[in-house]
Symmetry: C2
Subunit: 704 residues, 2 copies
């Protein structure tokens, strides 16, 4: 029988668990090695099979009615003689029948006893967000306690499977420590790859567990196979990329916008939206829609969008939830591309039917809907502020999205205070239709956007997101703040959005697989968003710290290790070159401690050397406030040297930590304005931001 | 022979390693169980001993010339019969002699083969910073790879030893997982306690390794014992607490200060110090010392401190290193208490002899020296700014110290910008004399100081620090930023101060044992310093999140888990009480999501309920900027409600995360001014600060 036939037979019989021989048949088809074995009807057959495959052997009950064989006394290991096999056969049958007198017994499986090498676990599950996901970990109780396991989307390429072996904390074990034999990595990776292909080709496999797999120097053998089957998950519908792009382009670059529920009355959402569109400087047409007005804020108002004698791209909804459905019908008939659904009162308040209704209307008319339950969206290249907040006008190159309105407001306040240049701020709210993948598809090709930062609590279509993110990160960093990281956090997400939050470990591994830079917290996401687009991409892993304060040097080194950065081993000639610029009691090496009392020229010479030596790939600077080199003198010289070297083609990321009195704050603002990432009173933040840029550069394949 | 005699014999013989029988003798004296065993001269003796202690047995070579027995083929395990023992005896002797033909063979040790239960490691080492330190971890290759081990100062109390069992990542294993037998925790803790006592009473034991120890349900047996001996470390000299306190009090509350090298010339350090003392508002006497001046800044100048006709408590040195020694002699003769040694050019530039010389002079005169290589110190209750930086005048209750000048400057700038109230800022620089323990001894009893924050790269006397910190944390939090946390960081510390940086894991465990709150980075240390003194201590572990933005609630929950906080399981009656105040689609439970559009009264009612219900111990608030409840309205109501409840005796820590447009920054400043810890654009920081307060409260024994 083929794997397909085995699965179909089990499903036809109403079973969810495959028997061990069935599992073995499937493994054979996919080249997954299992121990030599046979099915014995009688004790004498068991002895015969044992003699053929070789002692010692394992005996296991085979019954569709006994899933947990060990609990039923249905497993005996290490039987070394024909007599032991005979006696074992009798014992297992007795135990199994005592456990479940009605169990149908198909026989006793006689299995070659494997062992030696490393015990590992390979499996696959069906994740609610990401679908088929392959897992790998080291076996044994310790790892079960320490949860040292890693996940990848199925199917997994051979190369990806190899990265899984190194992705667990105890990875060193497989390479052989303290004289232990190293595992055959290629064989193990191949086994993982085959499991991934198996579940990908057979979506009816809900779960598969190869546990333990014995991974030795001579191969990898799955000693036990457990397969659960069920209905294949429904395929996710996805629009073609071109169609998404066409719709999103009309939404972000509309020629005409209608405001459904526009109002002249201060304090109304429909008034705030009108004001923001007009005051924000939007240059397209604006059509206020209000059955009771003829003119709003100097613009002719229409009773219905149907009355507007022009084409309309976007309709912003500023009416109560109860009135949305009929109005959406009208906008659909009008042929708009996007419905910006500000109103709340849908799924987030339990009104799931109401939300389903408007999704259905939008879909029927080919309208893409943003929201509901959002603040709206900004797209600064078009001076477009379709929100009920306040206009935002610092144009720049990062696009931010948030699932929560509160986080959206924090984005706005932070942006304004730090003068962060943004291309877009988008609320996605309940995500009834437009999702992060739609937005990524637009931002991917949007020349106004050089980085994307997304706050999200769940993903409706994990694979759609991964596909889109993988495309985008080739050229632009995608930063993700995934809320509900922890068990407690996940519980809160559940109560907030009703969305099933996936296990964070799965999210974490797969977001990394997608090349996404995950931010550990809100402030980190905001700082990454602010800094990453300003920083050139590094060309290699060699980071050099130059510091005027030895104390900062130590903390900056700590921060580099935390951020996964590599402090360059300075070659002798470069070391000598640095030493020429610093006092004899300064420390070369890395960090390079130029000492505290140095004039601007010492900073200038050493920074210039670091920027111009092609073996150095990024600089981390520690500045110490002194009278000899005051903060603004340092800031101006650093900005100048970086610009001059950039002119010469020496384009490298430079970050700085400034320690000093309050003047260092002005110096940091100046440096940020000149494209040098600088923070006061922290050694961690500049390095964390550089680390984020490196994570992206590695994912984008820029560092080999 | 007693343990003392065994060790003395080995040392007398010039040995550093004890033999297995010697180790066993020592273990016996301390009640550390080892397997039954005997020393066999012949194969027949080995068989006899085996029969007596019971098969299976282990055979091990005993030779002072063979330290690594396994490498020499000198160990055989699992010998089950007299014949196997006989053959084994022959084999070991042959291997050992092949390994080292000149080895003196004392015999073959026959040992009962123990096993079963859990393999653990118990040991002790001599740490350069902390002296005798006891280690505990789970045995086996995985833990060796994962470095899952914990340390404590020796001796270790039985209770402390029990905490070690729970302090490893794989702690669950010892409690028995997947049907495994739990270990006898009391027996294991007792063994650890005994090892601690052993090394404490025998400082000549440089290292002891019990590896493996088999910890089963019936006890703990050390299967192998390895002891290294050497010279006992020299005892550390410590001044009596009363003497330190008397000196430090004269330094922090001086009646008269001399400035050695005072100058009228702008830009000179001796001028900056004079200006800061005068402009800072210091009310004691100030004596400028300068051989070439008769008057400086309106004060009569003296050629030498010897000429000053008054008693002087403190001398601030503002002269080049080369002139320090003779000037220090004079101040010593004058009977000053403290020499504030600003000059650099000592150990940090390689001038170790120069530093030793001034230490010797200070010690001879009973003068305590701060520095050298520092910016000076501030003590705001006395309006004392004895530094070359700028005056600082926001009086408050946190004392900060830094080993690095750069970090000191960052403290100053951060303090000024955040208006952080400080009692003291102290540079300790090279720490040639005055150390963190001296400062802690003063701050402990200083009523102007309610929290202490220290940046340090090393500790000269780890035990002195721990003793002092343990006393202080009973009443005041001690926050420590330990730089050189990571391998790379430690390397930088080495090059900066020449101090031997201890292994960070030892630092981390022992600082925690001392009750210190460790800050992960510079900014964290500063924020903890700013917030902790403003916050009342929590009385229990029940934390409740109340949020207007569900999105913030999820992130705040994540942050609570990261900070080691416990989200309260809300009892049914309290849940009902909260529900009465929030819309039906809001979520009770914890976080309590009051939803976004609520008026001030909803915040007020729920916050008041949380503060007044005695089962709730701390509140975390998530605010979302809306027109209905603008930021300053929220800030004023929250400050008012907290103050009103505090009046009623409901004194609990409250922290808030504010998401919104820039007005939330003003609201946060207002809240901080009113004793409510609040941050804009971050859900992590307020919770991290609350977590730090909890860590202190637990260490201080306030939470049971």
């Amino acid at each position: 029988m083929s794997a397909r036939e085995v699965i179909e037979k089990a499903l036809a019989e109403g079973r969810t668990a495959l028997t061990a021989p069935e599992g073995r048949t499937i493994c054979e088809e996919y080249g997954i090695a299992t121990p030599g074995e046979g099915l014995a009807a009688t004790a004498e057959e068991a002895v015969e099979i044992s003699a053929k495959i070789g002692f010692p052997v394992v005996l296991k009950i085979v019954s569709p009615d006994i899933l947990h064989k060990t609990d039923a006394g249905g497993v005996l290991v290490g039987l070394k003689t024909p007599d032991e096999v005979r006696e074992g056969h009798r014992k297992i049958l007795a135990s199994a029948l005592a456990y479940n007198p009605d169990a149908q017994i198909d026989g006793i499986q006689v299995q070659q006893m494997v062992g030696g090498g490393h015990e590992v676990i390979v499996g696959a599950v069906t994740d609610p967000t990401f679908g088929k996901v392959v897992a790998f970990g080291l076996g044994g109780v310790l790892v079960e306690v320490l949860k040292d396991v890693t996940f990848r989307l199925a199917p997994v390429s051979g190369d990806d499977a190899l990265t899984m072996l190194d992705d667990i904390k105890a990875a060193e074990v497989l390479r052989g420590v303290r004289g232990a034999e190293p595992a055959d990595r290629a064989a193990l990776a191949q086994l993982i790859e085959r499991v991934g292909r198996l579940v990908d080709e057979h979506p009816e496999i809900v779960e598969i567990d190869l546990n333990p797999v014995f991974a030795s120097a001579s191969g990898a053998v799955a000693a036990d196979v457990r397969i659960l089957v069920g209905a294949a998950p429904a395929p996710v519908e996805r629009l073609p990329r071109e169609r998404i792009l066409a719709q999103m382009t009309r939404i972000f670059k509309p020629r005409a916008i209608a405001v459904i529920g526009a109002s002249a009355e201060q304090g109304k959402i429909g008034n705030s939206v009108m004001r923001n569109l007009i005051n924000g400087g939007y240059q397209g047409q604006i059509f206020p829609i209000n059955p009771k007005a003829t003119e709003i804020m100097g613009l002719p108002a229409y009773k219905s969008i149907a009355d507007v004698p022009y084409d309309v791209d976007v309709a912003v909804f500023a009416i109560p939830a109860a009135f949305v459905a009929p109005a959406l019908e009208e906008t659909g008939k009008k042929g708009i591309a996007g419905a910006i659904m500000i109103p709340s009162g849908f799924a987030e308040t339990g009104n799931v039917d109401g939300q389903r209704e408007i999704v259905e209307i939008a879909r029927r008319h080919g309208v893409r809907m943003l929201g509901p339950n959002i603040y709206g969206y900004y797209y600064t290249p078009e001076n477009l502020c379709a929100t009920f907040c306040t206009p935002y006008d610092v144009q720049g190159s990062v696009a931010l999205t948030s699932q929560s309105g509160g986080i959206g407001m924090a984005i706005l306040g932070f942006s304004r205070t730090t003068k962060m240049g943004v291309s877009a701020i988008v609320g996605v709210g309940n995500k009834a239709d437009v999702d992060e993948d739609d937005l990524l598809t637009f931002f991917e090709q949007d020349d106004n956007t050089r980085a994307v930062a997304m706050h999200l609590e769940d993903l409706k279509d994990g694979r759609g997101f991964v596909d889109a993110a993988r495309r985008v990160v080739k050229n632009k960093p995608v930063i993700v703040l995934k809320a509900g990281r922890t068990a407690m956090g996940a519980r809160a997400a559940g109560s907030h959005t009703g969305a099933l939050a996936g296990d964070d470990k799965v999210y974490d591994d797969i977001l990394r697989q997608a090349g996404v830079v995950r931010a550990p917290g809100l402030n980190d996401m905001l700082e990454y968003a602010r800094a990453l687009p300003l920083m050139p991409a590094p060309q290699g892993e060699n980071v050099v710290i130059i510091t005027g304060a030895g104390g900062s040097g130590v903390l900056l080194s700590d921060a580099c290790v935390d951020a996964g950065l590599t402090l360059m081993e300075i070659p002798a000639d470069l070391d000598e070159a640095f030493r020429a610029y610093i006092p004899p009691f300064g420390a070369a090496g890395n960090p390079i401690d130029i000492t505290g009392g140095e004039p601007p020229s010492t900073y200038e010479n050493t920074v210039r050397l670091g920027l111009s030596d092609e073996r150095v790939h990024a600089l981390v600077l520690g500045y110490w406030h002194t009278i000899v080199t005051p903060p603004m003198v340092f800031a101006e010289l650093l900005a100048r040297v970086v610009a001059e070297e950039r002119e010469k083609g020496n384009v490298k990321p430079v970050v700085a930590s400034l320690a000093g009195d309050t003047e260092v704050e002005e110096a940091c603002a100046y440096l940020f304005d000149h494209g040098v990432i600088a923070y006061p009173y922290t050694t961690e933040k500049p390095v964390a931001v550089l680390g984020a840029k490196y994570r992206w550069a590695r994912a984008a394949g820029l560092l080999r």
